[in-house]
């Protein structure tokens, strides 16, 4: 049995009178690919936002790497090795691919402001050593040819890949992917699935992903948690979830 990397317990998140999440609990094991699925508005993205500290749930606890918190803070989450990509691409549009990926390493750089101003000492050596790290990620995701292109000029599929590169550059332990394949064609989805599996296999990165393409979810993930209207509907291996009556009802509609 692999150890727990992250446990969320009884998370309840409210926006005024709207309950986005109600009493949701699940865990993510070290090294697994965990899918979070559910119909639109089920609270999947809100769940990720709670995990990396962007939303603060009113109730419940989050235990990450053995430390229990009522809520995470974004900076804390990032420095503890949680990285993520976004449903609507959140790249830095005015910057080149290389600069975007370099930004992913911001927390690993230690040079002082003065060193950076004069570009000497650690500032200089860090730029070069981190560049070679970043180039490994760029190689890995096969985006070498576009490294100096401003991301605003790239097609959608490549932007998604650059976003993954930026998250990977931080060498995360837990990678949160919010619909990494939304809006992609079949070839792009196959590429992205290959990258996700490779990241998991080569770096041992734990991955939590939200995805709507059931084929992808069933093929990629080790375990699936299903949310509907902010509540947990089912949790288990793809086969268990697929045959769960409540899940089928939520997706296909139940006869009344």
């Amino acid at each position: 049995m692999a150890e727990n990397l992250l446990t969320v317990e009884n998370i309840t998140l409210r926006f005024g009178g709207v309950k986005a999440l109600t009493d949701v609990s699940f865990d993510i094991l070290k090294g697994e690919i965990r899918a979070i699925i559910g119909p639109n508005g089920a609270g999947k993205s809100s769940m990720l936002n709670c995990i990396n500290g962007f939303y603060h749930p009113q109730e419940g606890r989050i235990t990450y790497k053995g430390q229990t918190r009522k809520q995470m803070r974004p900076y804390e989450a990032a420095s503890q090795g949680i990285a993520r990509t976004f449903q609507n691409i959140a790249l830095f549009r005015g910057m080149s691919v290389l600069d975007n990926v370099m930004t992913g390493r911001v927390l690993k750089m230690k040079s002082s402001l003065l060193e950076q101003a004069f570009y000497f000492g650690r500032a200089r050596s860090e730029e070069i050593s981190h560049r070679s790290k970043v180039e490994e990620v760029i190689d890995f995701l096969e985006i070498n040819a576009i490294r100096k292109t401003p991301v605003g000029r790239l097609p959608y599929g490549l932007q998604k890949r650059v976003e993954l590169a930026r998250a990977l550059a931080a060498e995360p332990e837990l990678l949160l992917l919010d619909e990494p394949m939304a809006g992609m064609n079949v070839e792009e989805k196959e590429d992205m699935s290959r990258f996700i599996l490779n990241v998991n296999a080569e770096f041992g990165t734990t991955i939590a992903l939200i995805e709507h393409d059931m084929g992808v979810v069933m093929d990629l993930s080790d375990r699936v948690v299903v949310l509907n209207y902010g509540e947990k509907l089912a949790d288990g291996t793809p086969d268990v979830v697929r045959s769960n009556q409540a899940v089928i009802d939520a997706y296909l509609g139940a006869s009344h």
């Binding site: 990032a78 959140a90 910057m95 930004t103 911001v106 750089m109 500032a123 730029e127």
Partner: protein, 357 residues
């Protein structure tokens, strides 16, 4: 064919990340530096004193605002007030510690202005865009009010408009009424060159990328681990430092008085125009903007005389305003990304010329 990087291969990341990776660009820079150093030998005293010096000083101020607005995306309408702060702080430093070398006084004034900039940058933690612009307007009015109404800042001078003390660098007067224009020019040039180099270093380092990340997508930046508070405040501090140094030089090396009217809201707008016309997020654009905004009115003013037209002076002034305003509007419609973008497009065209495919 004229401008290309083919054959200029990089074998290490260090070389690829050099400040100016393309050989031809480096040659251009050396030529520009040589020309700038040779200028005092060929240019007239009028050109040095009334055109070159103010342009170089405004380049510093525009670079400062560009770091804040163009790179970090935080708008400020207080640049003029920060220049004033620099001027008054430099005056206080130079009179309270006359033994300090003048460059040190000016740097100290810049640092003091950076502190003031941080104080007025605090609202940026909570508000953005137009609201922030209005908040920084408070700096503009409050600081100028402070400097005019507290006589301590002018050492209780009766007139309220003191003259900067004369000071020498390497035995030559660089400030005060006796300073020759060529010495003031070289003094200002060294500041401009140094601060330009610093600015380029900052924007290619971690801090520059953090600024741009905050500008482009602040939520994603925060989730990557960039602290918005620290990042925005460093942008305000460094931007104010640049404006402060520019203000000190403006008072000490150009107008030779320390007075608030030189740094009113019009100055803030002038710097803002320089940054927008020159190109947001481009250090070179600050140069283009400062040159354009400073020289174009002078050109408009003297053009009728060159053409032999006999137009009364007041009409020329009105025409100048109209044409200048129309130019800005025209420019913003045709090339909203500024002169720096035109420069970049020109370079991209030259890379392919004469074989466009």
């Amino acid at each position: 064919m004229l401008y290309r990087e083919a054959g200029d291969f990089k074998t290490t990341y260090a070389k690829d990340q050099a400040l100016i990776p393309i050989r031809q660009d480096r040659v251009m820079l050396y030529i520009a530096i040589a020309l700038a150093l040779l200028l005092p030998f060929v240019a007239s005293d009028y050109f040095l004193g009334s055109i070159a010096i103010p342009v170089l000083i405004m380049v510093i101020a525009a670079t400062g605002l560009n770091l804040l607005l163009g790179y970090c995306g935080q708008i400020s309408l207080g640049s003029g007030a920060f220049m004033a702060a620099g001027a008054y702080m430099a005056y206080k430093c130079a009179t309270a510690f006359p033994w300090l070398p003048m460059p040190v006084s000016i740097i100290l004034a810049g640092l003091a202005t950076a502190m003031i900039g941080i104080a007025f940058g605090l609202p940026a933690v909570r508000i953005k865009g137009f609201y922030l612009a209005v908040a920084t307007l408070a700096a503009q009015f409050f600081l100028l009010w402070l400097f005019t109404h507290v006589p301590w800042f002018v050492n209780y001078t009766m007139s309220g408009v003191p003259t900067p003390p004369p000071a020498t660098v390497l035995g030559v007067y660089v400030t005060g009424a006796d300073a020759p224009n060529w010495a003031k020019y070289l003094f200002v040039l060294s500041f401009t060159a140094f601060l330009t180099w610093i600015a380029y270093n900052l924007v290619r380092s971690r801090i520059g990328r953090s600024w741009m990340a905050i500008r482009d997508m602040d939520i994603a930046a925060e989730l990557i681990g960039i602290r918005p508070l620290w990042t925005k405040l460093t942008a305000f501090a460094i931007s104010s430092f640049y404006c402060g140094v520019a203000g000190a030089l403006w008072s000490f090396c150009f107008i030779n008085t320390v007075e608030p009217t030189a740094f009113d809201i019009n100055r803030s707008f002038q710097i803002l125009f320089m940054v927008i016309i020159g190109g947001l997020g481009s250090i070179l654009g600050s140069y283009f903007g400062a040159i354009f905004i400073t020289l174009f009115p002078i050109f408009l003013n003297s053009a009728p005389a060159w053409l032999g037209l006999d137009i009364p002076g007041d009409i020329i002034t009105h025409l100048e305003f109209m044409i200048f305003g129309a130019m800005i509007v025209f420019f913003l419609i045709v090339e909203p990304n500024g002169l720096a973008r035109l420069w970049q497009l020109g370079k991209e065209k030259l890379r392919l010329w004469p074989f466009p495919h």
